[in-house]
Symmetry: C2
Subunit: 269 residues, 2 copies
């Protein structure tokens, strides 16, 4: 064995490692990640540094700080990256490992509703990822659902960024949809901005912060045991759902929770 040739048996290494894991608290050089691995010793299998069990422990965050961080991070990597980074970096600051192991760049593809396609808003996509990371099976669905419903009814962008934003005091619009296509296009219609104008980018930077901040509010409420779902579909399409969506619906022939009448003519009953 290689380690025997060099005069240190694996048994000795592990023994030292186990002691060391117990005595070095801060891990300024090795990082808590490696200490964590040392301390759980036998759990990692061959060639693996495994992610800790999901969900990762949430620590309450400051929504206002995340709101500003989301605005700034949008300009680095777009809306999904911006929202995910704002929340995950805040968790890194609060809790360090394992949040430090997340490669934030993985979220870049979500910009513009997935590389510009206009599907789901990237701020929702990135916030939902962060929510899921720190929420168990019983919780992430209701938190993400609430965030998405809120998004459809919220007039974006908020005024909260006006102290530092490039374009303060912008027109606000609630678009009725979680889709980037609808959100951006309707805001451009209302504001008169072109899609590629710097004003539109700034609107989406603000929205990125707004959505990440709302995600943090929901997570904080959940952490306090005070989360209560508030979103309800509007009457415009809430009635469609009863017949078309879900196992107990008469037709059970439509997948989704989006506003039907934005794309479909309502029919008479």
């Amino acid at each position: 064995m290689e380690e025997e040739k060099k005069g240190l048996s694996r048994r000795e290494f592990l023994k030292v490692g186990a002691v060391a894991a117990g005595v070095i608290a801060a891990g300024e050089v090795l990082g808590t990640g490696s200490l964590n691995l040392l301390s759980r010793g036998g759990k990692a299998s061959a060639g693996e540094a495994a992610a800790p069990a999901w969900p990762w422990p949430y620590k309450k965050l400051d929504p206002e700080a995340v709101q500003k961080a989301g605005y700034n991070a949008y300009y680095e990597g777009g809306c999904m990256y911006g929202a995910a980074k704002a929340i995950i970096v805040a968790l890194q600051t609060q809790a360090g490992y394992p949040f430090t192991t997340i490669p934030i760049d993985i979220f870049r593809y979500g910009e513009g509703g997935m590389v510009g396609w206009g599907t789901v808003c990237g701020a929702l996509n990135g916030s939902a990822a962060a929510i899921t990371l720190v929420s168990g099976k019983a919780d992430y669905g209701k938190l993400v659902n609430e965030l998405m419903g809120w998004y459809t009814q919220e007039p974006f962008p908020s005024k909260k960024h006006d102290q530092y934003a490039k374009f303060p005091g912008q027109v606000q619009n609630a678009c009725g949809s979680p889709l980037c296509h609808v959100s951006v296009t309707e805001w451009c219609k209302k504001s008169g901005a072109k899609v590629t104008d710097p004003e539109r980018l700034d609107r989406c930077a603000k929205l990125t912060g707004d959505v990440a901040a709302r995600a943090v509010e929901l997570l904080n409420a959940q952490a306090d045991g005070k989360f209560a779902a508030g979103y309800k579909p509007s009457d415009l399409f809430g009635g469609c759902m009863g017949c078309h969506v879900g196992k107990t619906s008469a037709l059970n022939n439509v997948q989704g929770k989006m506003n039907c009448v934005q794309c479909h003519e309502p029919h008479k009953l």
Copy 2:
């Protein structure tokens, strides 16, 4: 200092750790992740076990194995989870660390187009995340764009799963959209299945594998320097783009690349 009380100075620990990092090659117990941390010693800052620089190195994968893995993983955690897991676990098997540090459960929220909302297909969302993880800034956009365009035109599900699927020989449909809402609803219309039927779930399990496999084909082509974009919008809406989408378009007033006429009446020019 805490470690001095216990009789092992940090200096001693680090010395032993540095030697050990050099002599234990396989890391059967600690894993290459912790060895990596040990060996890069001074690089990790206070309390951090940082993710390696992005993009992470890609190793070519077997699309057929990923296709089957995606099918199976769908039944564990849905479409986004299934697609991401199929690719990332294959990378874990090929390359180990750092792919082993990804908490795959983070992708659960993408099911049904984000917790059932019917926005972007989760198989696209999860595959795009995996593509982005291993593609640099210059590449992920074109690969994800190609995957999304291909998705809109591909008749799902493929026949590739028929040896092991619960429901072999299903009806196929190309839905023209990257949205879960359109993909699932149109397939149900064509097949006669209800949205919550086990047949529909099996269709989406297959699709999950199909999309992950296509992502791997694109990544493999890119790795070989042979990637060539093939997707073009259909004539049904390709003409809309010239006036409405992009900086050089006359109106520059629409965000997105989706099929316009699925929701909007085409107008005369």
